[in-house]
């Protein structure tokens, strides 16, 4: 574990423990405490990341792991957006109990920080399990029947993941005698036969593939995202499942590429599953009627891009995967938070019952447009650059058919989002949308801020690229 980043893990944990005591009588204090903690952490990590001196010194000032730092930034950002949004979303008549809600969110932030800073598989496993438990509880925040069903599905369908991870770790202990990434690198470099190690790593990888919701292990995602309490879906889709699954897959594929030809087939499977997710997710998203369910399928499809790039395994592809992970967190959070706003204002997120919402909710409509354009990869937004890097990396790496298919399916992405935008925001107002009002400005702050970030990540892409190359590719990927 990188000890320099330990504070990002411990402070939210401390607040999480503090909240039940401090906010026992005044429940609103829980939200304030959570927001303040996360905001402080975000400002702290931003000061390190966006210090102009870093660019000038080619990021040599960043003593810590650049990849972890970037992930911490995204974790804090999404968590802050969700908690800030929630503090206005949870009404007085809500069944949601604020104290455990914020406490759980902070615990999961702490677990995620643990995942991205750890340096060995066993600690990784522990934090993933902590994250899973907090997620089950968060999904059922509003005690709805659908939320319960989603949580149970999430639990039942992802428990094999823990099984495989623990098996893989045991197998790794038998073959390599170590859990740590660094000593694994030493073993690979020593030139001993590594067949067993590859298999062990493949098993761990399988666990994380299930957790990231890759086809054919995707079946829990639509139900969990749809059933979860609205801001929690944004939290889950934006960051939780990405860190507990996709981040680990990227991390493992960085190790896989060290095996070179010996892990060739595992990488091959990874790419195939990535492509399959892109195709199935996009095609399934075309016909969904429920906004959040459609977003869930879109999420599967976008995760496919990341997995595909991770399977490619060249440094450029891994950079693309990392950047797309960051971008996915931004735009998917915006879209899920917008679906929550819609649900609050219009009372439903069924796309067939909505229409013409752009008149009553212009801000929500415009932020959706920005986010969906970024998802579909329209320049100059951030999603364009990450998809571009991925497709170029695939083409350069010789996976030309994958590159072309990935390109084609970004058109399908645009298609299903356009269908959504037309059904929900354009066209004639329907019964449900006539009475809807724009949500209060405070609830728009997170989405508008995220949209600005999407535009900024696209506009300042050279800076981002320099960061990816200097701080991640040069130090983390070997």
């Amino acid at each position: 574990m990188t000890t320099g980043l330990l504070a990002y893990l411990l402070i939210p944990l401390f607040t999480a423990v503090l909240i039940p005591f401090a906010a026992r009588t005044r429940h609103r204090l829980a939200g304030v405490l959570a927001n303040v903690t996360l905001l402080a952490g975000l400002i702290n990590v931003s000061l390190t990341l966006f210090n102009p001196a870093n660019l000038a010194s080619a990021f040599s000032g960043l003593a810590e792991n650049g990849f972890a730092l970037l992930m911490i930034f995204v974790i804090y950002l999404v968590a802050l957006c969700v908690t800030f949004f929630s503090s206005y979303f949870i009404g007085n008549d809500s069944t949601v109990n604020r104290v455990p809600y914020y406490s759980l969110i902070l615990t999961s932030v702490s677990a995620m920080c643990g995942i991205v800073t750890t340096g060995d598989f066993f600690t990784l496993y522990i934090f993933v399990e902590v994250l899973a438990v907090t997620s089950f509880a968060l999904i059922t925040s509003d005690d709805g029947a659908k939320g319960l069903e989603g949580a149970i599905k999430y639990f039942l369908l992802t428990f094999p993941a823990s099984l495989f991870i623990i098996f893989g770790i045991a197998f790794l202990m038998l073959t390599a005698g170590t859990f740590s990434f660094e000593s694994l690198k030493v073993i690979i470099a020593s030139g001993l036969p590594v067949g067993g190690v590859v298999f062990a790593v493949s098993l761990i990888l399988l666990g994380f593939l299930i957790k990231s919701g890759v086809v054919p292990f995707h079946t829990w995602t639509p139900d969990a995202y749809e059933g979860a309490y609205a801001p929690v879906s944004a939290y889950l889709a934006g960051i939780v499942t990405k860190v507990s699954g996709v981040y680990a897959v990227i991390r493992i594929s960085m190790i896989l590429r060290l095996f070179e030809i010996k892990a060739y087939h595992t990488a091959e499977v990874l790419m195939f599953l990535g492509m399959l997710s892109i195709v199935v997710g996009a095609l399934a998203a075309l016909r969904q009627n429920e906004f959040k369910r459609m977003l869930a399928f879109s999420s599967i499809s976008q995760v496919g891009y990341i997995i595909l790039a991770a399977g490619m395994g060249t440094p450029l592809a891994l950079l693309g995967a990392v950047f797309h992970l960051v971008n996915h967190a931004t735009f998917k959070t915006v879209l899920f938070l917008n679906s929550a706003s819609l649900e609050k204002s219009a009372g439903t997120s069924d796309m067939n019952k909505l229409g013409g919402m752009e008149h009553s909710m212009p801000w929500t409509s415009w932020t959706s447009i920005v986010a969906l354009l970024s998802t579909a990869g329209v320049p100059p937004l951030s999603g364009f650059w990450s998809k571009l890097i991925i497709i170029i990396a695939l083409w350069d790496g010789g996976a030309k058919i994958y590159a072309v298919t990935a390109l084609l399916f970004s058109v399908v992405t645009l298609a299903y989002f356009m269908v959504m935008q037309r059904k929900v925001f354009f066209g004639k107002p329907t019964e449900a949308s006539r009475n809807a009002r724009e949500v209060r400005p405070a609830m728009l702050v997170p989405v508008v801020g995220m949209c600005l970030l999407i535009a900024a990540l696209g506009a300042f892409f050279p800076y981002i690229y320099a960061y990816l190359v200097e701080a991640i590719a040069a130090r983390t990927i070997l």
Binding site: F164, P193, G195, V197, V198, K262, T266, V269, A284, R287
Partner: protein
């Protein structure tokens, strides 16, 4: 500013300025245009002076890179052409001062000035790309000139016809220039001329395409068909300016440039050019002879005379080329003058129909005298300018040994004279109809340009030495041609006697036609028009059976239908097919995601069983 830019920039800027002038202010537009074109003429004289007696002016600006530079170069041929272009811009703008039926004055002068600017640019451009730029600019103003010259559908239809014909041939020119520039490795005409290209392989195609662009601009067969239509559907000043003068000047200029300056032609190309020239002479003059509209008759002659120039250039010997260039400037002079008389008659009588006109000599004596001078010049009657240039073309043609072309050209001369006898007789002599009893002479501003041009016809005839020494000879030197024979001067050689014979034949034909038509001059061509065999051909020609444009237009609906079907098919391939396929798949996946635990669990288990088997088999633990 480099003075060579004046003839290009000045009209361009004033054309834009002109649009700002309010409709209410009278005469300002006219006077501004006259002043600007006059200034351009003066600067053209000084540019020519510089080219003849000093070093030619040059202007270069880097443009697009890759050898595409904006180079204007006033060598002797270009300055000669610039002088001619500016002269006609000036006289036409004077002539239009009191000519009413020319469309909205603002747009007429706008088009006139821009045509002047772009044709000056095309004449001066040394870089082929720059020349193409100006050339294509002229195409735009050709369209607007015709379309805005009259209100109503016919003008627009004809404008579209002119635009499409010239657009296609300009496209040929563009491709030709690309090929030529690529082969030569430079776009500079001076650079290409240093190593002339020979006609083999791609270079031959490049030459042929550029030649198509040039002869189509000049209005040769079969690209001429918009000119007679424009004669009816546009104004007399436009006809006198663009098809009669500017187009001929630029087209023949480019043909000369490419045929002599850029390429070294072979016998086949020579034969092809001469055949095209002779065919153009004969076919167009046959059509001209039977026309009954003043301007339409003139417009066919404008086509026919192009044939002489192409024939002259096609001989590829210095005499013929000198004849072609001399004929180019002469033709522009008298044809412009003739169209001006047509405009004057139209303005004073309200008609251009030969059957409604007659006996106007007394009413419009100055117009009539100008007409007679110009008509005599076009018919090649000694000692007017047309005689000398035609003599040079004939001599050049005889030098090549192809006597057939000489005979065809002489036959063309007979019919030319015959048709002008018919035209002059119908309009200015004979009995004046009752309706025209009060006809008066045209205003001075219209007479002055006619007098100037008729004066040039006489001056270039009696004093043929002058243009030959200062315009034609330097141009030949510029083209790198040497010759022994004297170009100017009057000789009682056999060509002179042939021309006398031509005149006599035409007069006899006219008298015979008059007698056959019972003294009605406008019907004096009927003995040929309705001769057995010819009658049917004429009827078909009037219906447009020989007009490639009209024939192609008939093919358009069918082709459009076919393309529409093809488009639907591609639409189906790119639109309907993928979206219906996506629809089928997404429906299937929707049906699959039922929410049932056993199904989902089964899928997950199947997935990891496959994964473990695969990685275990290939991953290492065998």
């Amino acid at each position: 500013m480099n003075p060579i830019l004046i003839p290009v920039i000045l009209p361009l800027a004033s054309a834009l300025l002109l649009l700002l002038v309010s409709e209410r202010i009278k005469h300002l537009r006219e006077l501004l245009t006259i002043a600007v074109t006059g200034a351009c003429f003066v600067s053209a004289v000084s540019i020519l002076n510089q080219a003849l007696f000093g070093t030619g002016m040059e202007f270069t600006a880097d443009w697009a890179g890759y050898g595409l530079s904006f180079t204007l170069k006033a060598d002797r041929l270009s300055s000669f052409l610039l002088l001619a272009v500016s002269l006609f811009s000036f006289v036409i703008s004077v002539y239009s001062f009191s000519f009413g039926r020319k469309g909205r004055a603002r747009w007429f002068y706008f088009n006139l000035l821009l045509t002047a600017a772009f044709s000056a640019g095309a004449a001066l451009a040394d870089n082929l790309a720059a020349m193409l730029f100006f050339w294509e600019g002229l195409l735009i103003f050709l369209y607007t000139f015709i379309a805005l010259s009259q209100n109503g559908q016919p003008a627009r239809k004809t404008a579209m016809k002119a635009f499409l014909i010239n657009g296609v041939t300009d496209l040929c020119l563009l491709i030709g220039i690309c090929i030529t520039g690529y082969i030569a490795g430079t776009m500079s005409m001076t650079g290409i001329a240093a190593n002339k290209l020979t006609l083999d392989g791609w270079a031959a195609l490049g030459y042929a395409l550029m030649a198509i662009g040039a002869v189509s601009k000049a209005g040769a067969l079969p690209f001429h068909t918009w000119i007679p239509d424009a004669a009816l559907d546009s104004s007399a000043p436009f006809m006198a300016y663009v098809p009669a003068a500017i187009d001929k000047l630029l087209g023949i200029y480019l043909l000369t440039r490419i045929s002599v300056y850029l390429f070294a032609l072979n016998g086949f190309a020579q034969l092809a050019l001469m055949t095209l020239g002779a065919l153009t002479i004969l076919v167009a003059v046959m059509m001209a002879f039977v026309q009954n509209d003043y301007k339409r008759l003139l417009s066919y002659h404008a086509v026919s005379q192009t044939g002489y120039m192409i024939l002259g250039i096609g001989t590829l010997n210095p005499i013929g080329i000198a004849g072609g260039l001399f004929h180019m400037i002469n033709h522009a002079t008298y044809k412009s003058c003739l169209f001006m008389t047509a405009g004057a008659v139209e303005r004073q009588t309200g008609s251009n129909d030969l059957s409604k006109l007659g006996g106007l000599f007394r009413a419009m004596p100055v117009t009539a005298v100008c007409f007679i001078i110009a008509a005599a010049a076009i018919s090649g009657i000694a000692p007017l300018n047309g005689f000398f240039s035609k003599e040079l073309v004939y001599a050049g043609t005889l030098n090549t040994g192809y006597t057939w072309f000489f005979l065809a050209a002489e036959l063309g001369s007979v019919l030319t004279l015959a048709s002008f006898l018919k035209l002059g007789h119908s309009v200015f002599f004979g009995r004046r109809p009752e309706a025209l009893a009060g006809t008066r002479e045209a205003p001075f501003s219209m007479l002055l340009p006619m007098i100037i041009l008729a004066g040039i016809c006489v001056a270039f005839g009696f004093g043929a030495r002058l243009p030959v020494t200062f315009l034609i000879e330097p141009s030949l030197q510029n083209l790198g041609l040497r010759h022994e024979e004297a170009l100017a001067g009057f000789h009682f050689n056999k060509l002179f006697w042939v021309s006398i014979a031509v005149i006599l034949t035409a007069v006899v034909n006219h008298l015979f036609g008059l007698a056959a038509a019972k003294g009605r001059p406008d019907k004096s061509s009927d003995h040929i028009h309705y001769a057995p065999g010819l009658k049917e051909i004429y009827a078909m020609a009037e219906k447009g059976a020989f007009d490639p444009y009209e024939q192609l237009r008939k093919f358009v609906p069918f082709a459009a239908g076919l393309l529409y079907k093809a488009d639907r098919f591609f639409d189906y391939l790119t639109d309907t097919l993928p979206s219906s396929a996506a629809g089928v798949f997404s429906k299937a996946s929707q049906r699959f995601h039922t929410g049932s635990y056993p199904l989902y669990m089964a899928l997950t288990i199947a997935g990891f069983v496959f994964y473990i088997l695969f990685t275990a088999t290939y991953g290492g633990i065998k």
